[in-house]
């Protein structure tokens, strides 16, 4: 994933679906690519959820889906198919485009889809996952927490993960610092009634007087 700057790019050379702000402030989009609608035969139970079917958490888990089911593709799917399926679902469940009521649920699904994509798009991780599936160890592994079944196929990637983690930390705190900087410039506006803000405003005012 490319690391993005804090300010959004004005326009990108890459093929980007153009955004049109609607009057309500919601973003509608057109997909430029032609996605052949994948009619797939899923393994196990799969429901194309248009947001209509009410499904409880337990039902989902009891459906014991695999990552393939989640993405709506066959287990033999090619990397392209996986990517396309991921994009489709990610756009569908993205918090930004979900109706307010379904935001939490959709975000949860977004996370699941993300997890599935990460696993299946990396050839070695996908291979481990397939082996684990074959052994019957795990299905849809993600439950919002680090779950037991992850360990099975994460084990030999531990060292790489550690390295990756450390470099990943840097990006994480760089973001956090940028956010703090942004907040800090507006922090002491008049609405902020905290003791610290009042003291800072007072100090600003008195040093402005001295100038």
């Amino acid at each position: 994933m490319p690391h993005l700057a804090a300010t959004p790019p004005a326009s990108s050379a890459a093929a980007v679906p153009t955004a049109q702000a609607t009057a309500a402030g919601r973003v509608a989009f057109r997909r430029p690519w032609n996605t052949p609608r994948l009619r797939v035969r899923a393994r196990g139970v799969r429901r194309e959820d248009g947001g209509g079917g009410v499904r409880t958490e337990e039902q989902e888990q009891m459906a014991s889906r695999t990552f393939y089911d989640l993405l709506g593709i066959l287990a033999e799917g090619s990397p392209d198919e996986i990517r396309v399926a991921y994009r489709r679902l990610a756009l569908k469940y993205h918090p930004d485009v979900s109706p307010p009521g379904a935001a939490a649920e959709n975000t949860r699904r977004f996370i699941e889809v993300q997890e599935a994509y990460e696993t299946l798009s990396d050839p070695s991780r996908r291979a481990s996952y397939d082996r684990a599936l074959a052994r019957g160890v795990c299905r849809l592994a993600f439950s919002g927490r680090r779950s037991q079944s992850h360990r099975a196929y994460h084990h030999h990637h531990h060292h790489h993960q550690e390295q990756e983690e450390k470099s990943g930390w840097r990006r994480s705190w760089e973001d956090q610092i940028a956010e703090l900087k942004r907040r800090s410039t507006t922090k002491d506006s008049e609405e902020n009634l905290s003791w610290g803000a009042r003291m800072r405003r007072r100090a600003e005012a008195s040093s402005a007087e001295e100038l």
């Binding site: 993005l4 300010t7 918090p95 983690e165 973001d175 956090q176 610092i177 410039t185």
Partner: protein, 728 residues
């Protein structure tokens, strides 16, 4: 960057060489102008092959980037390292112009210096090693003493002391008249706050931040607190208040994944004691979370829209779900969370500190750094206890000098006898507050893993938890250092004593404690325990008595009880068979030596000093009675009446403050009219001031409680003051 290049950029060509001769001359350094000879980055000056070498893994290029290989320290020669860069640093002022690679070199040299110094003096080793990069980064970015850095507990501040003008005196650390083992305001302006007990740094830092704001100053305030110290309630009280007040300050959370001392069990650190550690672990492994945010951003990029808003939204929805629940803990309290950060990367730390320093109104910020305790010194990294607290050791191997005492420590005798009690009675349980090694309960834990409770650094909770255990039928032994129990005192009064619950308190480190100094000194426990109406208060004169008192406490089931014992080793008393004590009769002391005219009534291990004084007095033809009171509450009133009736002089002696044993005896005597007669009463106890750290012998001299002082008091009262002064 080679030292030669550094010379060119630093202030006029003086090189401070640490003074070796006089420890007493405070600020005089031997200064000589050094000709900058050509040096490679390997600092073996004079090409003497025997020196401990601090070198880079590969030869440094002219414009070495910080990532050109880590610095390696070769400890195998066991000699003092050559530290050319550290030699130029007297105060943080000297560090301002250093580049990143200079700072990394400095960190390596500082590490070598710490290992070398502590190997000669003993003290706390691995905590300082873990924060070397942090110390260097903090002093490079901030300007003490104007900026305030508060080190929680303070045992990790050896690097800080070296960088703030005390390098030349480090060989005196923890010794009489030398540097203190913890930051101390009297010692240096760079020590912003005195510490020793844990979890106080955020509170103090907030106080300093508020003072700064009210007084219109502009300095920065930083507190450094470990993950273990974070388990104490006070840290949360402070963070909560910081969030509310919103004053600018930085809290550095030093997370070395121990969340308790690595001495907690015999096999190393215990599994983390609570939910906090899980939260911290999740924070460290929030790669998922980060990736998720990036994925969300990249998708949003395609949709079009401000990416930071999306990131914030995903944060908001996903935080509770994924792994960032720890950060929301701090954020709920009102601190802005940054991390996790690699605590051993000087570059990262400097970047973050500089950025936060430059912000006008960050409010309270928590920077979560991850370090390794003992980093950079392989024997410490490998040891189960990480060489947390050490005596003198051999730098090349890490092997510590074995003590040659024929007896074990009181702590060990206590642990042993408690295990025997627990074997006989399965209601006996033990509680401690993150001090498994210090209290000896790591042995108990090994033997009875289900009956030993480590509550983290939470004395208040430990006491009330023990009260709960007692209320429902168990026999809890709370082993807490005398000075640490101060923190849980209200719980002792209100939750234990007021309700008369049979909690047993084992007060280790009672009296003067030597090198740790006044922060750890257990001066007050006799006073604060014996004033409680329901508490049984006793003190053993030797290790055998200690075992009997453990049994006595186990037998007292209708009221709370406590017993105190000092740091140090036993005197060689004959132990009861099987190391199992027999309960003593409550409120009964004993007479050890019969004499006339003068009676010495000792409490606790001062009885040993009384016995020695009695021996010394025989040479002056004075034969004193020596008695061991055993109990301060209830007093052995019959013994006291007999001693008062049969002697002209009664001297009480204890290693405690005013208001303790001597006070209780004096009150009793006055109430019964025994002070209305010819009796001369004198009480000997710790003076009304704090005794500095140092060797135990020196402290007792300073306190006036040695056998010589006791004998001198006797002779003075017998009208022989000249002889008193002639005692050796």
């Amino acid at each position: 960057m080679s030292p030669m290049a550094l010379q060119a950029s630093s202030p006029p060509a003086f090189r401070a060489v640490p003074a070796t001769a006089n420890a007493s001359c405070r600020r005089q350094f031997q200064v000589r102008a050094q000709v900058a000879g050509g040096r490679s980055s390997s600092s073996s000056v004079g090409a003497d092959g025997g020196k401990m070498m601090v070198s880079k893994a590969e030869p440094a290029a002219a414009a070495a980037t910080s990532s050109s290989g880590p610095w390696k320290i070769d400890f195998s020669s066991g000699e003092k390292p050559a530290t050319p860069l550290l030699d130029t640093i007297n105060y943080p002022l000297n560090m301002k112009n250093l580049s990143t690679s200079d700072l990394e070199q400095l960190a390596a040299e500082l590490r070598a210096e710490i290992v070398h110094t502590v190997s000669k003096t003993g003290g706390h080793l691995s905590s300082s090693l873990g924060v070397v990069e942090l110390s260097v980064a903090l002093h490079h970015v901030f300007d003490t003493p104007d900026d305030k850095i508060i080190w929680d507990v303070g045992h990790q501040a050896y690097g800080h002391k070296i960088l703030t003008g005390r390098r030349s005196r480090m060989h005196t650390i923890r010794q009489t008249s030398g540097l203190a083992g913890f930051p101390k305001r009297d010692e240096s302006a760079h020590d912003a706050f005195g510490v020793g007990h844990s979890s106080t740094s955020i509170s103090a830092a907030l106080g300093m931040a508020v003072a700064r704001d009210l007084l219109g100053r502009k300095n920065h305030v930083i507190s450094v607190i470990g993950d273990g110290a974070m388990t104490a309630g006070q840290a949360y009280e402070a963070m909560n208040n910081s969030g509310y007040l919103d004053a600018n300050m930085i809290v550095v959370l030093n997370d070395n994944k121990q969340v308790s001392l690595p001495t907690a069990t015999l096999d190393g650190p215990s599994k983390p004691v609570g939910a906090l550690s899980r939260a911290l672990t999740k924070l460290q492994s929030s790669t998922k979370f980060r990736r998720l945010r990036e994925a969300a951003k990249s998708v949003t990029k395609q949709i079009g829209g401000p990416t930071h808003e999306v990131a914030a939204k995903v944060d908001e929805y996903a935080r509770g779900m994924i792994s960032a629940s720890g950060s929301s803990l701090f954020e709920e309290l009102g601190l802005y969370y940054i991390g996790p950060v690699d605590g051993h990367s000087v570059e990262d730390l400097v970047t973050i500190f500089q950025k936060v320093k430059s912000m006008p109104a960050p409010g309270p910020v928590l920077i979560h750094i991850v370090t390794e305790k003992g980093k950079g010194y392989p024997p410490a990294e490998a040891a189960a206890d990480r060489m947390h607290g050490v005596v003198k050791f051999e730098p090349s191997t890490g092997r510590q000098a074995k003590s040659k005492s024929p007896t074990l420590s009181y702590t060990q005798y206590f642990a042993e006898s408690l295990i025997r009690e627990a074997e006989a009675d399965d209601k006996v349980v033990a509680i401690h507050a993150a001090m498994g090694g210090g209290t000896g309960l790591n042995y108990f834990q090994k033997r009875f893993p289900e009956r030993c409770f480590d509550v983290g650094i939470a004395e208040q909770h430990a006491v009330t938890f023990a009260a709960g255990l007692a209320a429902d039928g168990l026999k809890p032994f709370c082993a807490i250092y005398s000075s640490f129990l101060q923190r849980g005192y209200d719980q002792v009064v209100h939750d234990v004593d007021l309700q008369r619950l049979p909690v047993r308190f084992a007060l280790d480190r009672a009296g003067l404690v030597g090198a740790d100094g006044p922060t750890h000194c257990g001066a007050f426990d006799v006073t604060y325990m014996a004033c409680l109406p329901n508490m049984v208060v006793m003190a053993p004169a030797d290790e055998a008595e200690l075992m009997h008192m453990v049994a006595t406490a186990a037998a007292i089931d209708d009221r709370p009880s406590c017993f105190r014992f000092p740091r140090g080793n036993g005197v060689g008393a004959v132990l009861p068979p099987g190391n199992k004590g027999t309960p003593l009769e409550v409120g009964r002391g004993r007479v050890l030596v019969g004499g006339n005219r003068v009676a010495l009534l000792g409490y606790g291990t001062m009885v040993q000093a009384c016995l020695k004084a009695a021996e010394a007095l025989k040479e002056h033809d004075v034969y004193v009675t020596v008695a061991d009171a055993r109990f301060c509450k209830p007093l052995d009133t019959q013994l006291i009446r007999e001693l008062a009736a049969e002697h002209e002089v009664l001297i009480t002696a204890e290693e405690g403050s005013i208001g303790g044993f001597g006070s209780h005896v004096a009150h009793y005597l006055s109430l019964t009219g025994l002070l209305d007669g010819p009796l001369k009463l004198r009480s000997m106890f710790l003076p009304d001031r704090y005794i500095d750290h140092g060797a135990p012998q020196d402290q007792m001299e300073e306190a006036g409680l040695t056998p010589r002082h006791i004998a001198a008091t006797v002779l003075s009262l017998l009208g022989r003051p000249l002889e008193a002064m002639q005692l050796k």
